[in-house]
Symmetry: C2
Subunit: 196 residues, 2 copies
């Protein structure tokens, strides 16, 4: 298709969605502007009309995931009440953000690398994990979390369970679960356990 | 170093350990015999002295992980008693196998691809997951697992938590956890929950 044919159908938002899929499939390092151009079906110069380059696309994509996750921490359920209840709230809502913004959060979870944007994303992700770790530590200090699991280990396993959802969750899957069902299951399993 | 210099210091076992590290770092697809030769510090012909090629190394590596995991299913704790107790046993022992054979299980978890060995490994891994899923389903039918979490979802989250350990567990880490401590934490969190 000629360059001008599709250019006007792209918005920064739809170009971003295509770029995120390519980044996830090929890895950010392994993605060239040529790959993005082919996947979007527009010329490289058309892409440069929207963004300065692939790093800006990465920045926008991981920002979306990070804004969603940090936004959760500002919600009343994450700020008021006992630490264990706030932790449960953040667990539920983080899982919902992951299922709602699946490709963006998946990309954030996979970012490893040496560009400034990748380092920034990893640092922000660590900050988020740290905020949740502090909630869990406070809940343990309150005596609301079992004493026979090390809080650091519990934090890792909690994130392990939440983040693993990105490996298999597909919102379009027929007969699949809704994000809220998955979040419910994560909360029940992590906080109350599987045994009756 | 000249070809003959190190050849005799390599055993199939030590060559395998090097290959697994390279497969994890570069991906199996992205690894050439040249990469393996450089990492091992021996010539390609020396490697061919031990194995037919990189696919044989992959086969040996994932076999080791699979033998460990399927071995758990043969242990008395996995075969006798109520399904929920067998499930708990398998959860604990799978986590221990993961921490004990960390690089091999990590490689197994990352295998995706189109060679016969990769497809075989993925199929065997699915078989293992299926065996555990059946245990969980039986435990639910026994009424020993909470009814408000779908068994399929619970299986996915349980594996998600166990397998996430491969992302951060390092046996040599100072002040780090032992495999048995991690397995304890996984079992407590998954079966009894974090809340007191």
């Amino acid at each position: 298709m000629a360059d001008g044919g599709k250019r006007d159908t792209y918005t920064p938002e739809s170009l971003l969605a295509v770029a995120v899929e390519v980044f996830i499939e090929r890895g950010y390092d392994g993605t060239s502007m040529e790959h993005l151009s082919k996947a979007a079906g527009i010329s490289k110069s058309s892409i440069y009309h929207h963004v300065r380059g692939k790093e800006e696309l990465l920045h926008r994509a991981v920002s979306r995931a990070l804004d969603g996750l940090f936004g959760v921490l500002e919600e009343p359920g994450a700020c008021e009440g006992r630490a264990v209840d706030r932790l449960e709230y953040v667990t539920r809502r983080s899982t919902e953000v992951l299922t709602a913004d699946l490709p963006y959060v998946t990309l954030l979870l996979r970012v490893r690398g040496n560009t400034a944007t990748e380092r920034w994303a990893m640092e922000r992700r660590r900050e988020f994990d740290q905020r949740v770790a502090e909630l869990l530590k406070q809940a343990a200090a309150d005596g609301d979390i079992r004493a026979d699991v090390d809080p650091k280990l519990a934090t890792r396993l909690l994130f392990g369970m939440i983040n693993s959802v990105a490996e298999w969750y597909r919102p379009q899957a027929r007969g699949g679960h809704h994000g809220a069902e998955v979040a419910d299951a994560v909360v029940r399993m992590a906080f109350a356990g599987l045994r009756t």
